[in-house]
């Protein structure tokens, strides 16, 4: 009895002792992780810009001092009760002891509760800047191959600035990026679902990392019968073998002709080109075709359209004259195949008149250091830094400091009006101001110009930018340094996405740790090859277009049907709005007349989107107001479908008295010839037997050749095969 009492007494003492000797609770490393993991500081709750219910925390805990203040000092300290820690709102709300719109987040017997209570008992100490900081997050395992239904427990470790390491799984926010492939519980239990690969995103203390999960489509086997043409094929093949993917067959010659013509020059092949290509029996006819296409003037038109979108050339922001100046410079640069690094250096370092020094217009479109920071990072590095303007990036390491340090490169860009074309011409002169700084919005500290260094990019070295000189020169030099692989990766990934329907990093302009490439080796190899060939954009296109990967059929096989990430079959995608309109004009033989431009001007030649066209608007032409690739809409929509079915443009052209049908009839063609011709000008192939029969039947049953022709042409223009590149 006595000994029992004694034991209880002793245990009591030990309990007290254990508590009193237990380490000081760190606001940074113990309290903040609880707030983050419980979701208290997420955007929908107290992390909202305006807080919730009068209680505001910094989003995902990026500002610990603010959070401490908010918890300990505001509402007269009611959130923390020194006398009775249990009565602290910060403990009562999340346990639903008092009402809480956010519901119950933990119970009073949980370790989170105990940690918070202990922190209050210790006097709710402030964030201590001397506390070790998390410098790296590690996932265990980092990558793993699973079978469907197999489970795996992920663990997350944090490495601190003092060299220590501890497990933080319980306070890490864990999400699967493709829940169809594998799901994950908040505790880190991964369950494999279906074939494919996914990343599990892990976020802790403002850092983020991923664990890679792959579920093979079939047991890994060597691929037979696939002869790689170049390094692209070798890297793709390596991945297919690992994932047990079986690539589709190679596409047919007519499919390749149509695909390459639309992708490289935004133009359908003519019946003559189709006939000639079908008659070409040389072994390298596809490679030769790619060469021929890249040498055509439409190459510059079509890619100027894309770069015009990205750089946002528009009369609405630049005046008509400024817009033409920029658009012509873009087109000329592409026509001359100016090396990409030079193109961007010229763009970023331009000075002088917006009318005569065309690239200066870049600084008119994004007209302040913030917009320039965001546009430059997204366009040339694929980094979406916008989030860090106001708070820590939720999925990347970027902080406000990174953002404003980068913006310092643009702090001295100035404009003044020019009188050369009259006071109201809108001409502006870009000059470098002798002063101007970027300040940290919270601390007011002057920010040193510093590049955005991610992954293995070279650090700044001597690229801080001289105080006297144009800081942009330092930026352009750093950006286009051959060892800055991220610069090349960003553009090769875009181009790959344009041709293959999906970026290796997708979306193509969202490169970050938590959005990993599906084939990192391929991306790196493409970037290095591009740099080794002097940033030659035509070489890049040729490399992609002559690979066998690009030439795979869009028809799937039983094995690769669900693959949309590893390029084992061609991913179909709709023709861009401008190419689609041109294709309609070509098929109907009735050109579109655009206001203020000569007849015969094609949609892909439009200098900007200030040229009215309901057809282009409803088929997804971007307004050029953002640098996001997402501004161009290619998802089908009701208005797009209606435009092709009942739209004025299409029906007027089909029935036009000088249109394709009328001309074919006038020239005395037989129904058989008309049918063949209509298939060639729309689907760029010959009709098969069954199709011929159906079409000829239409001609026999119709009241006139004209109306049969119109109906057939209408139907062909409305097929998915017509609208899609495939």
């Amino acid at each position: 009895m006595r000994s029992t009492l004694c034991t209880i007494f002793l245990l009591g003492i030990l309990g007290v002792l254990a508590e009193s000797v237990s380490a000081q609770v760190s606001f940074l490393n113990d309290v903040e992780p609880i707030l983050t993991r419980s979701g208290c500081n997420q955007g929908a709750c107290h992390g909202s810009q305006f807080g919730k219910g009068g209680f505001k925390l910094s989003l995902a805990g990026y500002d610990p001092d603010f959070d401490h203040e908010s918890i300990v000092r505001m509402v007269r300290g009611r959130r923390v009760n020194w006398v009775q820690p249990k009565s602290s709102l910060v403990l009562q709300k999340p346990t639903l002891t008092v009402s809480h719109i956010g519901g119950r987040l933990f119970t009073s017997d949980s370790s989170d509760y105990r940690t918070l209570a202990l922190w209050i008992r210790q006097g709710a100490p402030r964030p201590n800047p001397k506390d070790p900081r998390v410098v790296q997050l590690l996932a265990t395992p980092e990558r793993r191959v699973l079978h469907p239904k197999e489970r795996l427990t992920l663990r997350v470790f944090a490495r601190y600035s003092d060299g220590t390491q501890r497990e933080v799984t319980a306070h890490t926010r864990i999400n699967s990026l493709r829940e169809a492939v594998a799901t994950v519980t908040p505790e880190g239990l991964v369950t494999a679902k279906a074939n494919g690969a996914t990343a599990i995103m892990l976020r802790y203390a403002g850092l983020a990392t991923v664990a890679h999960i792959a579920i093979p489509y079939a047991p890994p086997t060597a691929l037979k019968g696939f002869a790689p043409q170049n390094f692209v094929d070798r890297f793709a093949m390596k991945q297919w073998q690992e994932l047990g993917l079986k690539p589709s067959e190679t596409c047919t010659d007519t499919e390749f002709l149509r695909r390459a013509s639309l992708d490289l020059i935004g133009t359908l092949p003519t019946p003559e080109e189709i006939r000639a290509f079908c008659a070409d029996k040389s072994n390298n006819r596809r490679a030769q075709l790619v060469e021929r296409l890249l040498a055509r003037p439409e190459y510059a038109d079509y890619w100027a359209l894309k770069w015009g979108d990205l750089l946002r050339s528009s009369r609405a922001t630049l005046t008509t004259k400024g817009m033409w100046s920029l658009s012509n410079w873009i087109r000329e640069s592409l026509y001359n195949n100016k090396p990409y690094d030079l193109f961007i250096r010229e763009l970023l370092t331009a000075q002088g008149s917006t009318f005569s020094q065309s690239p200066t217009n870049y600084y008119r479109i994004a007209s302040n250091p913030q917009e320039l920071t965001e546009a430059t990072a997204q366009l040339f590095l694929g980094v979406r830094i916008q989030c860090a303007r106001c708070h820590q990036h939720p999925f990347e390491k970027w902080s406000q400091r990174d953002y404003y340090q980068f913006s310092a490169y643009f702090a001295r860009v100035g404009f003044k009006a020019s009188g050369d074309y009259g006071a109201t011409s809108g001409e502006q002169i870009l000059y470098i101001k002798p002063n101007g700084e970027a300040l940290h919005p919270k601390t007011g500290e002057r920010m040193e110009p510093t590049p955005l260094v991610s992954g293995n990019a070279p650090s700044l070295g001597s690229h801080r930018g001289d105080a006297q000189a144009d800081r942009r020169i330092a930026l352009a030099q750093w950006l286009t340094k051959p060892n800055n692989l991220n610069f090349a990766k960003s553009v090769v990934n875009r181009y790959w996405g344009y041709l293959l329907g999906r970026g290796i990093v997708n979306p193509v302009d969202d490169m970050r740790v938590t959005n990993p490439p599906t084939n990192p080796e391929l991306l790196e190899a493409l970037a290095k090859d591009f740099i080794a060939h002097g940033y030659d954009l035509k070489h890049l296109l040729k490399t992609i277009a002559t690979s066998r990967v690009y030439q795979l059929s869009s028809l799937t096989n039983a094995n690769n049907r669900t693959d949309e990430a590893f390029y084992s079959h061609f991913l179909t995608r709709r023709q861009p709005a401008e190419a689609l309109l041109d294709s309609v004009c070509f098929a109907t033989q009735v050109p579109e007349k655009f206001e203020g431009l000569p007849v015969g001007t094609r949609a892909i030649q439009l200098p900007d989107t200030g040229v009215a066209s309901a057809f282009l608007d409803s088929t997804g032409r971007p307004a050029r107001t953002t640098v996001c690739e997402c501004e161009r809409v290619s998802e089908p929509s009701l208005s797009q479908v209606l435009q092709l079915m009942t739209g004025e443009v299409i029906n007027r052209k089909i029935a036009h008295p000088k249109g394709r049908i009328a001309e074919l009839i006038r020239a005395g063609n037989s129904p058989k010839n008309i049918v063949e011709e209509l298939y060639l000008v729309t689907l760029s192939r010959y009709p098969n037997l069954e199709e011929r029969k159906t079409a000829l039947g239409l001609f026999t049953s119709s009241k006139s050749l004209q109306s049969a022709g119109e109906d057939l042409l209408w139907a062909l223009l409305n097929t998915k095969e017509f609208a899609y590149i495939r």
Partner: protein, 471 residues
């Protein structure tokens, strides 16, 4: 294509949000972070009221003067109170301007909000705020045009969260898209960051003005260009063409193996249904309305638009927006009365507005629809209290009057009060976000439900408080 197993809350038609995303054209493997976040969109914690099944927005583009319409100030100095006298309405204690005689007989149906306020005097910026319940997400120092970073219009949010299954669009806008005189498109009337696929269906009108009296129109005809069969194409021929198209696609034997583009079929089917459903076509045709009712609504574009709005609502379109059409002289298009305020109000603004708006309320009431049809009358801002040297009033965001009726709104009341010149709210200031929260809540949607923009950033639908005193 396989579908993501749903763990989201099912919508009322049994399709989960995730399912919709899949239908919306994204293969599961192609899911990107914003989509992932979209799939996890929070449906909101605030329990919606849900007394309205549908909503009609009457938008007085240009900005109607509050003191000359629903907030008369007879006690104010003459340069403020202007030329119009107040008249009594059928609700004692509520007075409105004399050129709204028909609306004066309907005051028991509507609530007047006299303290609506925001901080912009720019048409397009105010319009974005009023049409979406959210301020423009950027600094604007002048007029702006629609951009894919805009917040989505009320109708686009409905199309995103609660699309109609029927052969009808979720949102329709008439009698035209709202544009500036230079053709730039106003923000706030389309899908914004949700994407153009959520734009309302735009209906345009054709009309002729009477030679003898240019303020009246004859033969108002509404066009749904997208839904009108081209010349020479009958319903019969469309049917044949559809059959031909389906045969051709079947013969190409590709579609089933290219799952991704199968999504297009869904839209195509909806399009054919829209084009060939007699129900749909009837909803857009005013001809079926009795002449007497057309007269009651007024033979002008606004009146006839209100009538079409009622037809569409009745047919099952959940959200119809009627924009006031640019009208009058170039010196004073629409309600933007910088010059000759009183002349424009009297000759071609207030009378059609009075007729169309009052007829709509009356008609909805008679059909038993007013109790679950929310009607909101508003502009992008109010007008300045001082009359300028051109006899006009200028832009004024700080105070305007908004009228709400039906769908659960308690009529016959005034909410909020402006100061003695109607320059600023004096009591119960109302933000566009408060109106937005009320609209969404009445329509059965939590105002704090989240939608995700292209960068993956979540936004609550609106940041405002539901105006419970209105109910």
């Amino acid at each position: 294509m396989f579908s993501i197993k749903s763990s989201g809350v099912p919508l009322c038609d049994g399709i989960s949000r995730r399912e919709l995303i899949r239908i919306g054209g994204l293969g599961t493997m192609g899911l990107m972070l914003p989509d992932l976040l979209r799939a996890q969109e929070n449906h909101g914690r605030i329990k919606p009221i849900g007394t309205a099944k549908r909503c009609i927005i009457l938008f007085m583009s240009g900005g109607p003067p509050q003191m000359d319409t629903f907030d008369p100030k007879p006690e104010a100095p003459v340069e403020v109170r202007g030329l119009f006298k107040p008249i009594r309405t059928n609700v004692s204690g509520i007075e409105i301007a004399e050129h709204f005689p028909l609306l004066a007989r309907q005051a028991h149906q509507y609530a007047i909000l006299r303290s609506v306020t925001h901080d912009s005097n720019i048409h397009t910026v105010g319009a974005h705020h009023m049409l979406t319940g959210n301020p423009v997400p950027k600094v604007a120092i002048g007029e702006i045009s629609a951009s894919p970073t805009d917040f989505p219009h009320y109708g686009s949010v409905l199309a995103h969260l609660r699309p109609t299954k029927a052969y009808l669009p979720t949102a329709v806008t008439l009698p035209q898209k709202n544009t500036n005189t230079d053709g730039t498109i106003w923000p706030g009337q389309g899908g914004g960051f949700l994407g153009a696929q959520y734009d309302p269906l735009y209906v345009t009108a054709e009309y002729k003005r009477l030679q003898s009296d240019p303020k009246f129109y004859e033969n108002c005809k509404f066009h749904t260009p997208a839904l009108t069969l081209p010349e020479g194409v009958s319903q019969e021929r469309l049917k044949d063409r559809r059959a031909l198209l389906e045969t051709i696609e079947r013969q190409a034997r590709r579609a089933e193996q290219e799952a991704k583009i199968g999504v297009l079929d869904k839209y195509r089917e909806k399009a054919f249904n829209l084009l060939s459903s007699s129900e749909t076509l009837r909803a857009f045709q005013l001809d079926a309305e009795p002449e007497r009712l057309k007269d009651r609504y007024g033979r002008h574009l606004f009146g006839q638009s209100c009538l079409l709005a009622r037809r569409l609502s009745e047919a099952g379109v959940p959200l119809v927006t009627v924009f006031w059409h640019p009208d009058g002289t170039s010196a004073s298009p629409s309600w933007d009365t910088h010059e000759n305020n009183y002349y424009h109000l009297k000759t071609h603004l207030m009378s059609p507005c009075d007729r169309g708006f009052s007829a709509l309320l009356e008609d909805l009431e008679q059909r038993g629809m007013l109790k679950d049809t929310l009607v909101v009358w508003m502009g992008e801002f109010g007008r300045s209290v001082q009359v300028n040297p051109q006899g006009g009033r200028d832009h004024w965001g700080a105070c305007q009057s908004v009228v709400m009726a039906g769908g659960g709104i308690r009529g016959g009341q005034v909410y909020g009060k402006s100061d003695k010149t109607s320059a600023y709210p004096a009591e119960n200031p109302v933000s566009p976000g408060d109106i937005g929260a009320t609209v969404y809540s009445l329509l059965g949607i939590s105002p704090d439900a989240e939608i995700v923009d292209q960068t993956g950033r979540p936004h609550p639908l609106v940041r405002g408080e539901v105006l419970h005193p209105l109910l």
